[in-house]
């Protein structure tokens, strides 16, 4: 499988065409989609027209973007005009958005060809895609295991060589965790770097859209394409988009990398070993490793599992049978709303709506939601202090390799603990990248996580590239 950068070069040079690349992508998808359940919907007509347009522009000698003719998979919580968008929920089954998410417009303007919508945990709530109303996605590397979640379909699309790149969203680890479990590069950017317009909201103060790819360079090019100010998102950072791909080979010479024990302790031995050998590789490339402890990070999980459900309970109030998707008829409007929501939402979504509603309710607000917001401040301050001693931070992405179906579904807390290393980044609004490094049990990939302060994407990609080279890629 060629990388996105290679495909774009081939299409631009005339060695291939966007139409030919799209046909290859659909052939790969059709070969394994039934087995793996990666795509919920394929937009064949739309993609064919976009690819034909790219080819026509090239034939006319027009300038095409950096992703010219590159097929890309889109997580099904991103709106695309006229293309079914479900969030893997029955409550949106059949709904077709009347507008494009900003990221879709930017992809198409850069010449990319969105091929279809990928499976996720319902409303991005989960770490395995087992919460999808349309069945789980299987890990292409071992179909008896989960691909991670919530962006499991977008990770599986790239891992199965269906597309070279894909988009996911990360609220508590939903890009980095599946990237780790599927052996991919995945980044959660700085909050506000990528417009959330057209991303169906889960927890608005935590959600960010980001890239999946096989290589660091592809993720940098993709993030560069979708980043930048958008007046349609009031939380969008009003500053020029950073240059990322030009800095991928900057290296780590002279950088101080903080090895934070709270970001690997408790992980499987093979994962801890991978983090340690990643530190060695960074040291060999000229970085200094600084051992750090940030005990506040241990509070991240508790704060997250109050803040995210609280925001979700508010965001998901809009699914009431009035404006989009499912309606279950009843005698009056309140009964209709309750019947619609009861039939439309799955168990995990109901659990989080309930938790959030409780945390926000009179009498409990200060003790739960209020306290969680203060812990968020505590965490941000702790990160700031750590970044005085280190330029970047290193740790594990997940406690272990891809797990088997049903292994963590009995008790919600067991599943939530899979996000323990990824959650703090979202609470801080900072960027982090997961990069494959080494192998664990059953030769399954391990993800090493690099974290940085806000707007450090270029340094994170450069450090990830050092690990990519050290891992022989």
């Amino acid at each position: 499988m060629k990388t996105a950068v290679e495909i774009a070069q081939d299409v631009q040079s005339g060695a291939s065409t966007a139409t030919a690349e799209l046909e290859k992508a659909y052939a790969a998808i059709n070969a394994r989609n039934e087995e793996l359940n990666v795509f919920l919907h394929l937009d064949v007509a739309g993609a064919t027209a976009i690819a034909a347009d790219v080819d026509a522009r090239i034939a006319r000698g027009e300038k095409v973007g950096p992703l010219a003719g590159v097929p890309i998979a889109i997580k099904d919580n991103l709106c695309q005009t006229g293309v079914p968008t479900t969030c893997s929920s029955k409550i949106l089954d059949g709904w077709k958005p009347p507008y494009n998410a900003t990221v879709i417009d930017r992809l198409v303007a850069a010449g990319a060809v969105p091929v279809g919508k990928t499976n996720l945990d319902e409303f991005a709530m989960g770490s395995s895609t087992e919460n999808s109303a349309f069945g789980p996605t299987r890990n292409p590397l071992d179909p008896s295991r989960v691909p991670g979640g919530s962006s499991g379909g977008s990770a599986a699309a790239v891992a199965a060589d269906m597309t070279s790149i894909s988009l996911g969203s990360d609220t508590g680890g939903s890009i980095r965790q599946p990237a780790a479990l599927c052996g991919l590069v995945g980044m959660k950017p700085t909050y506000g770097l990528v417009s959330r317009y057209g991303l169906i909201a889960f927890a608005s103060s935590l959600d960010q859209i980001g890239p999946f790819s096989k290589t660091v360079l592809d993720s940098a090019v993709l993030l560069e394409t979708i980043a930048g100010y958008d007046p349609m998102d009031s939380t969008s950072l009003n500053e020029p988009a950073p240059s990322l791909s030009a800095h991928v080979n900057d290296g780590v010479a002279g950088k101080r990398i903080g090895l934070v024990k709270e970001l690997y302790e408790g992980a499987d031995d093979s994962v801890v070993a991978a983090v340690m050998s990643a530190c060695e590789a960074l040291k060999e490339a000229g970085a200094t490793i600084v051992e750090l402890s940030i005990p506040e990070l241990q509070l991240g999980l508790s704060a997250y599992y109050l803040i995210a459900p609280a925001e979700a309970s508010s965001n998901l109030a809009r699914f009431d049978g009035v404006r989009f998707g499912l309606r279950v008829d009843a005698e009056d409007v309140t009964a209709m709303m309750e019947a619609t929501r009861t039939a439309g939402f799955g168990a995990e979504v109901k659990r989080r709506i309930m938790l959030g509603t409780y945390a926000l309710s009179a009498g409990y607000f200060d003790a739960y939601y209020g306290q969680a917001l203060k812990v968020r401040t505590l965490l941000i301050n702790a990160f700031k202090k750590a970044y005085e001693q280190a330029d970047l931070i290193i740790g594990a992405t997940t406690p272990g390799v891809a797990f088997k179906f049903g292994e963590k579904t009995d008790n919600p807390m067991t599943m939530y603990l899979n996000d323990v290393f990824t959650i703090p980044t979202n609470l801080a609004g900072d960027p982090a990248v997961s990069v494959p490094f080494g192998k664990g049990e059953e030769n399954l990939p391990i993800g090493v996580q690099l974290l940085g302060p806000g707007r450090s994407e270029a340094q994170l990609f450069a450090a990830a590239r050092v690990l990519e080279i050290a891992d022989g890629r």
């Binding site: 009031s234 999980l301 109901k350 709506i353 203060k374 812990v375």
Partner: protein, 100 residues
């Protein structure tokens, strides 16, 4: 704060959230939500009275734009996707307790 989440609490929250729970779901959610709230006890013992709450990573401020009319979503395209729409509006079952 020890979570003492009761079945009645869960039933009340379900009403607030406009969800109907079966007896079995009530039972299960009382236990599961209690477990999640128990995990949050590691925060409740901390004295954080000196800290300001963070609702947003970079401090959200109101963003204004010039008051200029711009195109927005097409009304018919939006209503097209609604479960029920009449005369250019979303249609819902009756809202008042008694028939008009």
């Amino acid at each position: 704060m020890a979570s003492s989440l009761t079945r009645d609490d869960v039933a009340k929250v379900a009403r607030l959230a406009r969800l109907t729970l079966s007896e079995q779901e009530l039972e299960l959610f009382t236990e599961q939500l209690g477990g999640i709230l128990d995990h949050a006890n590691d925060m409740s013992s901390l004295d954080l009275s000196d800290l300001a709450p963070t609702a947003h990573p970079f401090g959200l401020v109101n963003v204004f734009r010039d008051d200029v009319v711009k195109p927005s979503l097409d009304r018919d395209a939006v209503l097209e996707e609604a479960p029920d729409a009449r005369e250019g509006r979303f249609a819902v079952p009756r809202i008042l307790g008694e028939a008009p």
